[in-house]
Subunit: 148 residues, 3 copies
Amino acid sequence: MISIPLEDRIGLQDLMTAYCYAVDKLDDVDGLVSLFTPDAVLDFSAIGLPVMNGHGEIRTFFDRVFTDMSHHSHYITNFRPIRYDGTSGAMTAYVIGIGRANDGNTVEVNVQYTFDAVKTEAGWVCKHYSMFSMMPLPGSLAEIHGDH
Amino acid sequence: MISIPLEDRIGLQDLMTAYCYAVDKLDDVDGLVSLFTPDAVLDFSAIGLPVMNGHGEIRTFFDRVFTDMSHHSHYITNFRPIRYDGTSGAMTAYVIGIGRANDGNTVEVNVQYTFDAVKTEAGWVCKHYSMFSMMPLPGSLAEIHGDH
Amino acid sequence: MISIPLEDRIGLQDLMTAYCYAVDKLDDVDGLVSLFTPDAVLDFSAIGLPVMNGHGEIRTFFDRVFTDMSHHSHYITNFRPIRYDGTSGAMTAYVIGIGRANDGNTVEVNVQYTFDAVKTEAGWVCKHYSMFSMMPLPGSLAEIHGDH
């Protein structure tokens, strides 16, 4: 286990938790985007979804997700700090992500998130976020979030 | 994120976690009731279940739940402090609640809890507890816990 | 709630979380075994699986699990300290364990873990780990992990 002050560990946990609340709220893209640095990279390629570069692409992706989905529920557990240097750090966590699209299609994923983040005066902000699936991916993931 | 001393944050988390253990134990209503102030309000109306006022009504509701259910499992995640004033505070969390009734019927809910609690010499105690569903509610919820 | 310094509470949480990561990695038995004292006892009898005594038997059991399984996902929540004496302590937690075997069989369990652990210079290490199921056990558990 790496050494990290408790305050920063909790800051990273709160950032990842805030992301889950923001994704599940489904109506505040600004709030979600504000959790990331302007040049943040979101790499969802390991689950067959886009790589997004910067606030503009993040906003475009989640604008469509929020339009398409009627319900979201992202349970985050297994927080584990993996890097810390005083001004930046990274943490992994497990997520059960459950979604229901407006067309009634449903999806459940079992994924692991990695957030690499920087400490600012306003708190921790994510600069690189990636995920991979811990179980075989359901076919409905591409149906719901893939290109269409 | 609101400002809250770590000790109180953990106190709120422990209160919500203790509630899950108490609900899942299925055989100690006194232990469950002791987590609430005598005049506590439990408002389950957003999921089609009762509003309970005070220890008596809380006890009546859970006496029946504990009689009806053979298994319970309430996984609590996504703790988030939302209010704190030094002597009281509130926290939200996500819960996956899984139940099996004695008649074999099963239910799974994806809900968000809010606990508003007060700090006492014996620790944090809940004075208002509400929940809402993050996903469409299963029909078996009303079958198992509704009026009958 | 028992009294336990925050540092040790987090040490116990990290140990249980590290175990979940190790079980889910499926390719590093040494890393998993190192989380336990040489004479540690793993008692899985309450879910119809073996009691293991010491590193040798633990290794044998997980060697086979890692050979048999293609995917694992163990979500750990509801951490609760239940004993602490300064040099040793115990904690319970809830786990949703999801697995997929190489033959395509799948299993999901809803269990409660208890870790009894000792504090060493290298951190907390488990000396007794037991679990029980909070829901009826699925038949596929014995098919996947039972004697064969």
